[in-house]
């Protein structure tokens, strides 16, 4: 997918004044986070399970070559085919080759962030194959010509009324009728529209939440059942997965599953956890005749050897964005690429380059909620800080920002000048806000005061107070 992350500041500002988006986000801000804390409270072992999940993933990453080889061998033993791909181009081409070899006209897809990462839909369309997104949220954003704004709730930025308008517009020549008002009617209409697409599709593409080395099994978790209809009805099932999805055993997968849904939607367990091993067996009455797994690197092997290795533990639950005050204020599209929120701020510079995405690690107050709720205990603020350091070293910030930082650095290393300028500043601010006790418009920082007042400083600096205190 083409990144627009360089335009983050303008997109964030646009998001802040978008009334529909703010309406949608007002529901989002409390929805998932409350459910997550309720689910965590119901399971006394939740924190211990998080610790074990971290250990499992660390062990797997340390031996990733071994576990992926074992996984691939087992897929092949069960009659499937594994395609090792380094770049998005290779992965897309491999999907296209499989589709062509099977004379595919239409492809159903269940939600896959890797599919977004490699921009599969426009590529298939350009090659006369119609991709059909079947997850309701993905279907909505596909109809709207957009991309997901959240990794587990792709259409979270849309209000019900916007979906109603969209369905009315896009379904009217497909047997749709009047503009629907209620959520249940909209869901039913999407179900009816997609039903024959599931049945007619030649190829089904799913992602993977896990690649189980023990058995050569790929696993997905969904709530709608679209991932299942996508893989058992067409002749061919293609799984798109990146390398870090590996886990050693079914037991290890179970441990991570216990923290996944609880962290994501606050469910005890997702409705459907589906394990797929090879193509259908002789005598089976349904299931795909062919099973392909595309194992994509796209930067993961490089990240494994970098200071960002820990982000490879990510299980894409979305908890970090569900709890992020910045994401909650601006929505996912501001981030400009596949992965928004705190994990996006760490992943995106890794995958599209720091020059393109250097704003994202700055889109954080470092409040620490993301790290607190991350089931895999990824130190997201710490990793964002590393990107900020690299951003500074590479000279990517605006000159004014660098000048400010340089001035600050000089001041804090020269105590006398620091105290002097501090005292002057306090006096100046007091003069500015003398009458009202607050400052409505701060010189050189209009942006900061445009949405709030700055209180007038009371008393002197901390240093001055400390000196007085020690004299007393």
């Amino acid at each position: 997918m083409q990144s627009t992350s360089h335009d983050f500041v303008a997109r964030a500002q646009k998001g802040l004044v978008d009334e529909d988006l703010q309406d949608a986000l007002s529901r989002f801000r409390t929805g998932f986070s409350v459910k997550r804390s309720e689910a965590a409270a119901l399971l006394p072992e939740f924190e211990a399970l998080r610790d074990q999940a971290v250990e499992i993933k660390n062990h797997t990453l340390e031996h990733l070559d071994f576990y992926l080889e074992r996984f691939a061998d087992k897929v092949e033993e069960s009659g499937g085919v594994v395609h090792w791909c380094v770049t998005p181009e290779e992965a897309r081409q491999t999907v296209l080759d499989i589709c062509r070899a099977n004379d595919a006209k239409t492809v159903t897809k269940s939600k896959s962030m890797i599919g977004e990462e490699i921009a599969l839909n426009p590529f298939l369309e350009a090659n006369d194959i119609e991709p059909i997104e079947t997850d309701l949220g993905e279907y909505i954003v596909q109809l709207a010509g957009e991309y997901p704004s959240h990794i587990i709730a792709p259409a979270v930025h849309k209000t019900k009324d916007q979906v109603a308008d969209l369905f009315y517009e896009r379904h009217k020549d497909q047997g749709g009728g009047k503009r629907l008002e209620e959520v249940d009617e909209l869901v039913d209409e999407a179900r009816a529209m997609l039903r024959h697409r599931f049945i007619d599709a030649d190829v089904g593409i799913t992602g993977a939440n896990f690649l189980v080395a023990e058995t050569g099994t790929t696993a997905i978790v969904t709530n709608e059942g679209n991932g299942d209809l996508t893989q058992i009805l067409p002749r061919v099932h293609i799984v798109l997965a990146t390398l870090e999805k590996a886990v050693p055993t079914l037991d290890d997968m179970s441990t991570i599953l216990r923290v996944l849904a609880r962290s994501a939607t606050g469910q005890e367990f997702s409705t459907y956890t589906t394990l797929s091993t090879g193509p259908k067996r002789p005598g089976d009455l349904d299931g795909p005749e062919a099973f392909h797994v595309i194992l994509l690197d796209n930067g993961r092997s490089r990240m494994l050897g970098s200071e960002f290795r820990e982000v490879l533990r990510c299980i894409k639950c979305g908890a970090c964005m569900n709890h992020c005050p910045v994401y909650g204020a601006i929505g996912g599209h501001a981030y400009g690429w596949v992965y928004p929120g705190p994990v996006g701020a760490v992943l995106t510079p890794n995958l599209v380059g720091l020059k393109e995405a250097h704003h994202l690690p700055n889109a954080s107050t470092f409040c620490g909620r993301c790290e607190e709720v991350c089931p895999m205990r990824i130190p997201l603020p710490g990793l964002m800080r590393r990107w900020r350091e690299q951003e500074f070293d590479a000279g990517l910030q605006a000159p004014r920002y660098r000048l400010g930082l340089a001035l600050w650095a000089w001041l804090v290393r020269h105590p006398t000048s620091y105290r002097l300028s501090n005292a002057l500043l306090i006096r100046a601010l007091r003069l500015l806000g003398a009458r009202r006790g607050r400052i409505a418009r701060l010189p050189f920082a209009h942006g900061w005061t445009s949405g709030r007042d700055m209180p007038t400083p009371e008393g002197g600096s901390f240093h001055a107070k400390w000196r007085r205190r020690s004299r007393e």
């Binding site: 691939a72 594994v82 062509r100 869901v187 023990e214 209809l229 367990f269 459907y272």
Partner: protein
């Protein structure tokens, strides 16, 4: 297949990816002794921490399973004897105003129930097609921990039955209800050796299909069944 398949589908792609991983890990392929150790970890997998909530007597597990399944909008009834299953099915269909045309898995485990006692139930055995409204299947096991059913595919247990019809009825024996998912893996592993025991599809099903994709409002029956009805047979 065309060019890139040849490149990526063979050892070349594999070697490039594995080589890159090993460079990042700062080592060559793992020494034989470590590989043997990891292989042993895979051939006799050990359980990790299992939540205590599903420990206890079979009666506790049946009660917990029922509570958890109902909490996610499945409906559950208990019948004391297999002979009562056809009546329970007929009653459910009538209560929900559902047709009596049913597609049922050709699973021998379902033959023990006396379907002929309810001749009004019009049964077809096989996989599901679009027009099917109601399906009946068994289950391999069920887990009390989260009210989850485990269904596996084979020639007599097609997976389409679990997803295409709007109403899915599962007939479960009480002694199939156990505590945690790990019991399911243990059971599957008993079917074969060295990781070669998995059916094509293993479905863990916890309640009927749902979505929250429009304004996070829960709506049942997104693409899979709107209704999941579980009949527990006590003996």
């Amino acid at each position: 297949m065309s060019g890139s398949m040849g490149e990526n589908g063979t050892d070349k792609g594999r070697d490039r990816v594995l080589g890159a991983l090993r460079r990042s890990l700062g080592r060559e392929e793992l020494p034989a002794a470590v590989r043997a150790e990891l292989t042993a970890r895979l051939s006799s997998p050990k359980s990790n921490l299992i939540p205590a909530r599903s420990d206890g007597s079979p009666a506790h597990q049946v009660a917990l399973f029922t509570e958890m399944a109902e909490a996610v909008q499945a409906s559950v009834v208990r019948v004391s004897d297999g002979a009562d299953v056809p009546d329970a099915v007929a009653e459910y269909l009538a209560q929900n105003n559902l047709p009596s045309d049913i597609v049922m898995a050709p699973d021998a485990a379902l033959d023990r129930y006396p379907w002929a006692t309810r001749p009004m139930l019009n049964m077809r055995r096989g996989h599901a097609v679009d027009a099917d409204q109601v399906s009946i299947t068994g289950a391999d096991m069920a887990f009390a921990e989260t009210g989850t059913l485990m269904l596996t595919s084979d020639a007599t247990r097609p997976s389409t039955l679990n997803f295409l019809p709007e109403s899915h009825i599962v007939v479960l024996r009480a002694d199939q209800i156990t505590g945690a998912y790990e019991e399911g893996w243990r059971r599957l592993r008993a079917e074969g050796e060295d990781g070669a025991f998995m059916p094509r599809t293993v479905n863990l099903i916890t309640g009927p299909s749902r979505t929250g994709d429009i304004e996070q409002r829960l709506q049942l029956g997104a693409h899979g069944p709107r209704r999941l009805h579980i009949i527990i047979v006590e003996k």
